[in-house]
Symmetry: C2
């Protein structure tokens, strides 16, 4: 981190977790290979798995095996995070690098996704912190549906920020706000950041084709941390059946392509990242949503 | 036009032309019905057909029949434009509302698309103007590959602007710059506008998932005229075989959805526009690329 923060963005790759969670299960070996390909491309932050019920999310079965295999790579300078939905998950993560704790600003979504009230989720987050903080394990709280939900529609940015403040109050290290169902717009991004300030992560989905636009708008407002998934894969299983609910993540290659063009450092090599995207397309056995991945980067000079 | 231009955008719908040109041919009746659905949604500028060889572009066969049918609607306050690639096309358009004249800033693309040099295209544009101007028919010159091409890579904005100046010099009424192969970025948009100023139209393609982002960046720099195609259909037949060449247009619904959220007037009703998108999906017999069309507009309030 020698460059000015103004020209540097930290990308957390969530493809091995969010990107795969609605896919047919990929074996542990393939998921570890995928992470290795991402790291080879220069990715330095990976959300690699989720400690959730394999009955609820079959694609995340073997999460401990994935995290354990990555534990062998501790020396590569990469932060491997595991997502947990409750204190029980946190207790399983006491040997991991970093934990992302998922809860929602939408009461309806929180009930559907983690089967509890928001108040209860905050209590669980407090317990998670009490287990993890003494071991020096940072907890990033990821607040889903921070820009609205299919259940409540728009959610007041003041309420979202108040939830963030409560989470910081119980000791979480950092906050990430997620647009789980693709309801953010540049205006809504600006509204939330007016409450929270720019020192937050954003986790954007492309349900309505606005993920890259929203990232650009947020970058312009000072945000320097983004979650992305290679290929633009992903989506929430909790709303996969809702009209307009699920939708892929902001594609890592789309954001890197944009930031490269703006002269912003990510540390990620686009061509090698596209190798990883080709690998994930093989692993999930279908084309990925990213249009950039299909078309290739813009040619700066003649290929001839 | 009572609102301030700063909060108003003129959308020219090119779906019936650019949107359909790489599709299996849709009968004239269906294309006229599609235009009627667009007009019912509030669209006031339509590029409805192209006077080009039906051998080269089978989907544009019957263009005169389409334009003639629309001619019966002269009183509806809508501008119906026809695209022409040369003076011969212009001579066929002497009874139309408006003509868009296509040529390219890329020598390679111009040869492939209209089979002549750029100099020759400018001469043809001059002849087109000499035929049309006395009849009071405005000519909008659409400069394709204005942000680069698969043949030459980046094209210098100064060269693109010089071509625009030559076209204004031979009497074209307005200029539109097209990102035919999806090579624009916010930086490239800013670079070109620094040469041309903001009083231009932009015609953006989503080959690399950047169309809406580029429109947003251009809006922020003062551009108030955009070409779009419902559903995000379209793409250039001239580069349909090139890797990373063809790609759909900026989707009309995506831009209206964004501008509605920003409080910018377009005159287009999003729900009725989505009716037109459903119609075009029926006509072309496949789902359209727009993710917004699939997901539906963001819910502002609970659907319950």
């Amino acid at each position: 981190m020698t460059a000015s923060p103004a020209r540097e963005v930290r990308i957390r790759e969530v493809g091995p977790r969010d990107g795969l969670q609605v896919e047919a299960p990929v074996p542990v070996e393939g998921r570890v290979r995928l992470v290795a390909a991402l790291v080879a491309a220069g990715v330095r932050h990976v959300e690699a798995a989720a400690f959730v019920s394999p009955t609820a999310v079959p694609a995340m079965a073997g999460a401990a095996d994935v995290m354990s295999a990555l534990e062998q790579r501790r020396d590569d300078g990469v932060t491997y995070a595991v997502l947990v939905p409750n204190a029980e998950g946190a207790r399983r993560a006491t040997w991991c690098h970093q934990v992302t704790f998922t809860l929602s600003a939408s009461p309806g979504y929180n009930e559907r996704n983690v089967h509890m009230s928001i108040d209860r989720s905050v209590d669980e987050a407090a317990t998670a912190v009490s287990v993890l903080a003494p071991r020096g394990i940072p907890v990033d709280a990821v607040v889903s549906c921070a820009f609205g939900s299919p259940f409540e529609g728009d959610i007041d940015p003041a309420d979202v920020n108040a939830l963030g403040e409560r989470l910081l109050g119980v000791g979480v290290t950092t906050l990430t706000y997620a647009d789980t169902t693709g309801m953010a717009t540049p205006r809504r991004i600006a509204d939330l950041l007016a409450s929270t300030g720019p020192d937050v992560g954003l986790h954007l989905h492309d349900t309505r084709g606005t993920a890259l636009l929203n990232a650009y708008a947020a970058y312009g407002l000072g945000v320097r941390r983004f979650d992305t998934a290679l290929g633009g894969l992903g989506g929430s299983p909790a709303v996969a059946g809702e009209p307009g609910g699920a939708g892929g993540n902001l594609a890592t290659e789309d954001l890197v392509h944009l930031l490269d063009d703006l002269g912003v450092t990510t540390g990620i090599d686009l061509e090698r990242l596209l190798d990883a995207t080709r690998l994930v397309a093989e692993l999930v056995r279908h084309a990925v949503p990213s249009r950039l991945a299909a078309a290739g980067p813009r040619a700066r000079t003649s290929p001839a």
